[in-house]
């Protein structure tokens, strides 16, 4: 008798575990224990990981960042009480869908800024509030807007480490010479987003 012999006498089917998982999601949400809910969605720039706390959208991650390592990092930095639970992300998933089909030009969801501090957060909040759909700005202009005209390099870092890309539109910040510059999701993704907004 081995452990394997007896375990195979107790078959567990995938749908049963799915139902139990859904029940756990609901109980965790009701008990205020779901610190981070996440799901993935398909998009024109590849699969996106969406993660939200009860405060709002915390993180949007591209596939090239490695969704597992992003979740691991959230587990360490924010809370390990993390479950895949689509419900909390339904509004942003729907709005991203509308954005990628050109039917939405701004997002209307609460944001959780916990992953951004100090000057980086100031930069991203200005970016979020002031740089509209279909427009672009330069790192230098965003530095001026953020009240520190000399901090061009720090603005570049703030954009490169934006935890909520697409929704907080760092893709609209390009180099002064007109080239697209670096992007968390890779330059190709940035060109797709700029192209999408230019065409509408």
């Amino acid at each position: 008798m081995t452990m394997h012999n007896l375990a195979e006498q107790f078959p567990v089917d995938r749908d049963h575990l799915k139902r139990l998982h859904a029940r756990l999601e609901n109980a965790a949400q009701a008990g205020d224990l779901l610190d981070i809910a996440y799901r993935t969605v398909d998009s024109a720039v590849g699969p996106l990981l969406l993660a939200a706390t009860p405060l709002g959208l915390l993180r949007v991650a591209f596939a090239n960042e490695g969704h597992d390592s992003v979740l691991q990092s959230l587990s360490q930095r924010i809370s390990p009480r993390i479950l895949e639970a689509a419900g909390r992300l339904d509004p942003i998933a729907r709005q991203l869908d509308e954005f990628f089909t050109g039917h939405r030009h701004s997002f209307d969801v609460a944001l959780d800024w916990s992953l951004s501090r100090g000057f980086r957060r100031t930069v991203l909040e200005h970016l979020n509030a002031d740089i509209g759909y279909g427009t672009t700005t330069s790192y230098a202009a965003l530095a001026r807007l953020s009240g520190s005209p000399k901090a061009v390099r720090a603005v570049g870092t703030a954009c490169a480490t934006n935890p909520i890309p697409i929704v907080v539109p760092c893709h609209r910040v390009i180099r002064s010479d007109g080239s697209v510059g670096a992007y968390r999701g890779g330059p190709a993704a940035k060109r797709v987003l700029l192209g999408l907004e230019r065409d509408r």
Partner: protein, 202 residues
């Protein structure tokens, strides 16, 4: 195996210092060195559910029966989620989950006993009617074991815990835990012979 389990309301920590010849008792084979906290990072709770959800379901189904297994699973993982931030990163997660499941199963069994109205049929007859023939035999055979044997069999043969950990969970000696497991399996071999035939038909 030298192990230590400390228990509070719904959190316990399991530290494994020395590996035994039963490598299935630890999440990862780490050699015979002591594992320190900073070598471990705590995975998102979702990974815990994915990795251990099926095993915990088998364990609670064996211990509380078909009817109450879903409740026991749900209460176990909800309590685990609540306590997870306080769990040391080097804890043996499987042993921790089984410890929680053990306590939830006791609560559920006590509640069922309080609810129960004496009838001629055994209390799990509804589950037996629902289950297919295969499950009926196994649930009946496991359900007929005395509680300590049923628990020892589930925790050793389904969860893969070493008897040293099971002894702590059952609050008994290691020898008594080992005997309960061995007696339980011996009885199951008689009452449910398919356990042995499964070896030839994996």
């Amino acid at each position: 195996m030298v192990s230590h389990i400390s228990q509070r309301a719904d959190v316990c920590t399991v530290k494994v210092w020395i590996l035994t010849e039963e490598p299935q008792c630890v999440a990862e084979p780490v050699g015979d060195v002591r594992v320190t906290v900073d070598q471990h990072v705590k995975p998102p709770f979702e990974a815990v559910v994915l990795q251990h959800g099926a095993t915990v379901l088998r364990v609670v189904r064996a211990v509380v029966g078909h009817t109450d297994a879903d409740d026991a699973w749900s209460e176990t993982f909800l309590a685990a989620l609540r306590a997870y931030p306080r769990l040391p990163a080097d804890a043996n997660i499987e042993a921790w989950l089984v410890t929680i499941a053990h306590r939830k199963a006791i609560d559920i069994t006590r509640a069922a006993t309080r609810r129960a109205i004496p009838v001629a049929d055994p209390p799990d007859s509804a589950a037996r009617e629902r289950a297919d023939t295969h499950d009926l035999d196994l649930d009946a055979a496991v359900g007929a074991l005395p509680p300590k044997q049923r628990q020892a069999v589930a925790y050793h043969y389904l969860a893969g815990l070493p008897y040293a950990d099971i002894a702590v969970i059952l609050d008994s000696s290691v020898a008594a835990a080992r005997r309960a497991g061995a007696d339980g399996i011996a009885t199951l071999r008689r009452t449910y012979p398919r356990i042995d035939s499964a070896r030839n038909h994996p």
